[in-house]
Symmetry: C2
Subunit: 326 residues, 2 copies
């Protein structure tokens, strides 16, 4: 938001680090309340996997579908107005059906896989899909190199989607590792935006810290880039009143020996944070977060309507304004 940001329309004013559904809600809000072209969304790809020979990028797709207004309104994955003929036919042929792929959704996976095999990058393909679906916000994978989240369980390691979808998070989890992260290169657009003096805010969306945000943070240069960024790093707590808004975060935190509180999320991000956004329900925790040396915004963070998403987005961007240089 300094003078030079208007010189080039595609210059990034806000970076959002996001997983799937929870993050996508705030991303949609941000894209509505700011110039959507100045928003760069860095999507977790630790959940990506190969299934039925197809490259599936669940978080990229949830973000893209949500920004395009194509997302299923309730599921938190997949598309609205979907048909399921493929799945029924696959079942009749004895194929694996634990990962539900709608007929329209399948086009994304088939075409992406074709283009990856033809040598295009996930970044280029995602940009093209966004453009074709009318999404002006840029969504980029955290890396074009393969990073695969692995859940460590008492019975050994489990590929993320086996843990998450096939086994429905039933196995006790002792920790996660991100295979390939050490050798992966963070998306250059992400690192460039982080270093840009015109950047006003880095928003860590209310996604699961352990499986949606940590894979991004684990990539080389990302922590250093966040620390050196001129923009404040602000996380929105995915935990409200000791509960996860959606998904298995609470069970996971119990198993990892971490209290299921917004405070524990702030501690998890630690030094990385300049600001932290907690729900009004968690106002009592604000002082403890401040003791970590982190500024706190208390506001309504539960997003049901589009208006909720836009309000939270506005509040987060206003909060980021506190760090603005005069």
């Amino acid at each position: 938001m300094n003078g030079s940001s208007s010189e080039k329309r595609s210059r990034v004013a806000c970076l959002a680090l996001s997983g799937g559904v929870g993050g996508a809600k705030l991303v949609v809000g941000l894209a509505r309340v700011m110039d959507p072209v100045a928003l760069l969304v860095v999507a977790n790809t630790g959940d990506d996997f190969e299934h039925l020979g197809l490259h599936i990028s669940p978080d990229i797709d949830t973000l893209t579908y949500t920004l395009a207004g194509l997302n299923h309104p309730k599921n938190g994955w997949g598309r609205a107005d979907e048909t399921w003929t493929f799945m029924a036919a696959l079942e009749a042929l004895g194929g694996e059906t634990w990962f539900r792929l709608g007929d329209g959704d399948l086009a994304t996976h088939v075409e992406r896989t074709r283009r990856l095999n033809a040598g295009e990058t996930l970044t280029a393909i995602t940009a093209d899909f966004c453009a074709r679906l009318g999404v002006s916000t840029r969504v980029v994978p955290m890396s074009d190199d393969p990073v695969r989240t692995v859940a460590e369980t008492p019975d050994g390691p489990l590929a993320f989607q086996h843990y998450f979808v096939r086994d429905r998070c039933q196995p006790v989890v002792k920790g996660f590792r991100f295979a390939g992260a050490a050798e992966a290169r963070a998306n250059p657009s992400f690192l460039e935006a982080l270093a840009d003096p015109g950047l006003s805010a880095v928003v860590i969306c209310p996604s699961n810290p352990f499986i949606s945000v940590d894979p991004i943070l684990t990539l080389p240069e990302v922590r250093a880039g966040l620390a050196a960024s001129p923009a404040p790093v602000i996380a929105v707590s995915p935990i409200v009143g000791g509960r996860a808004i959606k998904g298995p975060t609470a069970k996971m935190m119990r198993e990892l020996g971490i209290p299921c509180t917004a405070l524990a999320v702030a501690r998890h991000y630690g030094d990385l944070l300049d600001g932290f956004v907690v729900d009004s329900e968690d106002e009592a925790l604000a002082d403890q977060v401040r003791e970590l040396g982190v500024e706190v915004l208390v506001t309504k963070t539960v997003m049901e309507s589009l208006e909720d998403r836009m309000s939270l987005a506005r509040a987060v961007l206003d909060f980021a304004g506190r760090w603005r240089r005069p």
Copy 2:
């Protein structure tokens, strides 16, 4: 049909060489009027191609869907009760849509491709798909090795599906070649059945001779196997009254400089034939075919109803009985 054929239920009594829709009609008739387990269908795979990263076997699928009662009643390809959500979504993403893939049909291609990439043969996968879809007749690819039909046009060679589907047979065709055929191994089940003294009939279905049957005949050992087979080789003419029942056969024959008559089809197969089946409409040609040294059956060959298919199948099998050893 000799004494030993009942000893082993899976022993082949009738071999059918077939392309897609025209052949599939007679195959369905055969499977109804004889023990379906004793029918072995050898499917042309010269039409197979890789599309969107998927291995597509149009003739195998038409045969399998038709035998399973899943085929589209009018199109001659694909499935009944199909949805088209994938295709619409693919179009929105800028993917190639000239080859129409229904949502249910897609399951066949995705699962087949997955299994091929895992090292299974097309023969094994086809057998499993047939079993799962309740098809007791064995359908085998003519070969597990890749054979690709190429249309020679004045503007150069065209991959078969580009010629056939994308360009709708508009280019003038000077000839066809079958890339890979010389190095391919004919399906062992096919060659074994040909040599089996228990075999009663080899039926060349009323498929296009140039693009559906020639690829099979071009494979090493097939012509010799047909010549040496104890069973009569009987072709059913796909040309009736100077017209092709379906598809571009007539246009193709004109361009290849071959008269569009049943007689020309019999000449094309030549020495290979013991018997030839022409429609009642072509009775006048029967004597000319007989002059080629080929026995002729004149009957109704146009198949509209299931009863038509069964009647023709019965007539063809009865005709084959003329060669039965006493």
